[in-house]
Symmetry: D2
Subunit: 354 residues, 4 copies
Amino acid sequence: MAGNTFGNLFKLTTFGESHGIAIGGVLDGCPAGLEIDLDAIQKELDRRKPGQSAIVTQRKEPDTVEFYSGIFEGKTTGTPIGFAIHNTNQKSHDYSHIKDSYRPSHADYVYDQKYGFRDYRGGGRSSARETASRVVAGAIAKQMLAGIKINAFVSQVGDLRLEKSYQDLDLTLTESNDVRCPDSDMAAQMETYIKAVRKEGDTIGGIISCVIQNVPVGLGEPVFDKLHAELGKAMLSINAVKGFEYGSGFEGVKMKGSAHNDQYNSDGSTKTNHSGGVQGGISNGMDIYFNVAFKPVATVIQGYETIDKEGNKVQTQGKGRHDPCVVPRAVPIVEAMAALVLADYTLLNRTIQL
Amino acid sequence: MAGNTFGNLFKLTTFGESHGIAIGGVLDGCPAGLEIDLDAIQKELDRRKPGQSAIVTQRKEPDTVEFYSGIFEGKTTGTPIGFAIHNTNQKSHDYSHIKDSYRPSHADYVYDQKYGFRDYRGGGRSSARETASRVVAGAIAKQMLAGIKINAFVSQVGDLRLEKSYQDLDLTLTESNDVRCPDSDMAAQMETYIKAVRKEGDTIGGIISCVIQNVPVGLGEPVFDKLHAELGKAMLSINAVKGFEYGSGFEGVKMKGSAHNDQYNSDGSTKTNHSGGVQGGISNGMDIYFNVAFKPVATVIQGYETIDKEGNKVQTQGKGRHDPCVVPRAVPIVEAMAALVLADYTLLNRTIQL
Amino acid sequence: MAGNTFGNLFKLTTFGESHGIAIGGVLDGCPAGLEIDLDAIQKELDRRKPGQSAIVTQRKEPDTVEFYSGIFEGKTTGTPIGFAIHNTNQKSHDYSHIKDSYRPSHADYVYDQKYGFRDYRGGGRSSARETASRVVAGAIAKQMLAGIKINAFVSQVGDLRLEKSYQDLDLTLTESNDVRCPDSDMAAQMETYIKAVRKEGDTIGGIISCVIQNVPVGLGEPVFDKLHAELGKAMLSINAVKGFEYGSGFEGVKMKGSAHNDQYNSDGSTKTNHSGGVQGGISNGMDIYFNVAFKPVATVIQGYETIDKEGNKVQTQGKGRHDPCVVPRAVPIVEAMAALVLADYTLLNRTIQL
Amino acid sequence: MAGNTFGNLFKLTTFGESHGIAIGGVLDGCPAGLEIDLDAIQKELDRRKPGQSAIVTQRKEPDTVEFYSGIFEGKTTGTPIGFAIHNTNQKSHDYSHIKDSYRPSHADYVYDQKYGFRDYRGGGRSSARETASRVVAGAIAKQMLAGIKINAFVSQVGDLRLEKSYQDLDLTLTESNDVRCPDSDMAAQMETYIKAVRKEGDTIGGIISCVIQNVPVGLGEPVFDKLHAELGKAMLSINAVKGFEYGSGFEGVKMKGSAHNDQYNSDGSTKTNHSGGVQGGISNGMDIYFNVAFKPVATVIQGYETIDKEGNKVQTQGKGRHDPCVVPRAVPIVEAMAALVLADYTLLNRTIQL
């Protein structure tokens, strides 16, 4: 209810504030008998961690996950998997610019209004640091979903947009550059642009695209919990996300039905895939693909005027080491959330037929 | 779990197939003591019902709702509100074109794959007829949310796009035309266009925009159940929806943080509203606004080739009386789903502080 | 949340007041492809219905269930099963003795306090009439659980206690008498006693025992949702229930561990069954057995003093046709709730192992 | 779903195996602004911890809880409270008697059947060690429920039964002896008896009674989630519990309605309290009282024959330091679970009326 749990059968609950003692979570419902590759989990965390390249925040956090339960002799036991990532970067910052004033387009103001007060250190619970816990659970989900391939990548930064269809990209190149864009030329342009934006003390938005291959037919529930509705919620729950579209998306509204409809081949596959791999909320076996829009990071290293708790105007400035563009580090988060959704529906689908 | 329930505290469960005996639902958790305006509920149903104008399906269904429980002496009792809408239009259609073959971009194929068989009459559970139950519950939610104004309207049909900002529109005009577009000129163009598309036996997509005013600060949960994430899921769960964006949305990715950030006035309101009324997943008291993309209706009255259950090619054609464009009738559905989300968070918000 | 839903995967939501238009429910998550025996469902309702014998209330209600959805061509479709039982016995009673005063040991007072007002007709939502909806869903659960045998029976009425172990009873005799006690002699004594109590205008309590045979190993979840914990909750949620014990129960507290422990046979079965078929919250394949204590019905046809809404003393008397002893009619309710629990865990168990 | 979460609005999820790295949990939904008394939490853990007296297991575990999140400047923030208790007693035991064989009346066999394998060390997840996490969350719940007094105490050990009504006991004496029985004479007898049982290498069962005072009217939901049903589930979810009864309980079945009914005083209180403070599933403001039956601990230090995984007979013996009687240490667990139930319903009750 309080919104810190995701999933029903494959269920993740997270806890932790940015600068508290630890963040972490409990993954409940992971089936017993899954061999866990701990290195693969840490590798996903490393894709998300700060300080990994020149175009992300230079904050240092090793983000080492400790597992407390639920794994025995290398395999999941069917009992809850408790884990924690201790915050090593809790040095006594100067938080005076946050403590008593509200940074624009951050959650400071609404937290104070909703809860009466807040843990202001580093954004507290509203920090995207929480997503590290999602990446841990998502990495386990990926291992459970062995055959399914989830490929997220950066397709837009500011105005720089990768116009190619995903079919024309080599998705194995995503990790070959710091931006995580599978087109080297575009990646280079994006990198140069992000550096320029950072130099200005500013930030810029972007889009992550995701393609999911080898999805079995039948995942997703027909009414409120449509597969794409849950994917949409999953993505919109990631910090800074402003939009989600799948298949033909917003462009599809301009099409006529006769052109938009995906005609069947005799094996049940479709000749086109405007549906984006989902029909009536249920996967149809074609590739699932979707776009996720991220706004520019709110923390800019430029002076600005804002208000304090009493509504007085105060002059302030972003401090610390922040991301000029969030999308390179958000790629593994998008994949993790997609994996959590698919894992949940995979288990649920076992209960559908007599 | 099986996906027919929406909400946690203000919780709607729906049932019913397009051509079964009745559709309906149970609304649980509606607080006691709410005076129910039954006419207002029926009016919302009338906004959604078939046959209401020249640009929607000419099928006739009175869509009269019967309440079975939970309302006594004109007020909610705090017990579940059970209701049903009997299907009056169950005449013995010829379903042979649906029964054994799969209509492109419909849910026929995936239902058969998922469940082993399906109620093929009129699309069964996958029909948008189910949304009538949502409108009933949403109408009750609206009554509970008295002060909050939820205004959905059609902002795009095909390429015809209303470029004005919602602040420059008179939203009271939405119901003044059949398209439900608050700009009369644009509404006329859209209507002409929809009629032309119908004449071709084709269909066209569109966008519904929604503006929610007078939202109190503090609605929404900070992590997985962010207000906009739940709104997004709610919208994506409506039949034919392909995308959702709020605030600056997909366009916002092109902006820099310094421009995107919403500076505060001394009363906590913001000078701009790129945030779309939500910060960190929690309402900040500014207008909430979002766009919902609808694909063109899949049922086209044109001949096409598809496959039957055995994968054989069959020649077929859409029959019956279908909508050439879904958005005019979907306006009350968008509002209903928004109302359900807000009602749920309104109740939850009572539990947040000591 | 508001407590009108039971189960997670095999999930029943009920609605309806005693003297409203209809009671009913939605059963969501029943797997597709189950052939439904409608007669068997009605037969279960008939075991619960008023007026069925000389020792129950003589109120007349046919309790005919109508199914609105989720069943097609005789089989479940995997979509929600909506159903209703219209109340035929809504004649304009004189409710003055209930409307403004609080009957002792009824829910009148607490409903008014909790909700601000109440539907006072026949007890409204607090009436055991609601359990008819449970019997409908339970009957479907029974059909899904084909191999499992759920046998509830009356084992005590007042001081009249069936001392025999269930192994020494012929459980097929339960339906051979009006009391639903599988021992004919004891049944006759109980029947005589109940009639005598009724003649006094009084009521008497009783115990229902339940034996579940052929349960597969592995049902139940190990911590909060132990099989017996959920069974316990299910039983305690039935009107008038005051206690639940399984296996050795309250008597078991007097035993030493060396005597209480159930030693294994080489096939995993146990020589004794103090565990009651459940170990660590999980079924072990042995018979599950438990007892459910029902208090005497609160409505007595004797004059008594009580209070009205203002706290004034009022003299009143039970009216209408009430059960002198609730256990004969509660036997199918106990079975229905047990079936709902087992159906839910049966589905969940499909998700436990990789 | 997988059963490691308790509560809806005040929601505890626990993790951890007896001899894993740590046990712990996440408490989500605790309202913001609650001042947390950490010493009081530790004190509750100390009431439950091993080695606290001569009549419990002499195993040494400090059971020190660390909080990771959700508490800031001494108060809850409204975000999830993550906590862990590291297991210090993980020395390399000899588990050969458990690893390959099934201890009678333990969960060894069913875990292997359900999950395919198990963490056999010290009982793994099935160990009552998990309840320490419940005590942590329950202690927070108690602090939230400031005015409500929850008093559990031992009322029976083997045949030794405290016959006095709770009104005739001084419940402040519960902590004055190692048994936690508020009657000194009976406590002394029980203590002597437990020591004798332990000397035999055997164990004995017992009953914990619980009285809850100052409960506001209106807690509990009317149908499936009746207050006593949820309390019953909470208690039955505690290791070794075999039965639950409240108010008149199993004895009440022998009473007639005219005697059992609780007549009202003019202030809404009742002259008697056979209802046990709950009517129609909703608290009525009178004392809530109930009994919880605990079977004798299954681990006996006596030789016995059992089976191994292949069904071969093996001769074995309980090892280690186990409780001869579980009830003294279970008193704080009963209180914790009661507190969790009441906290959940307290929050839910804020949403019931308009």
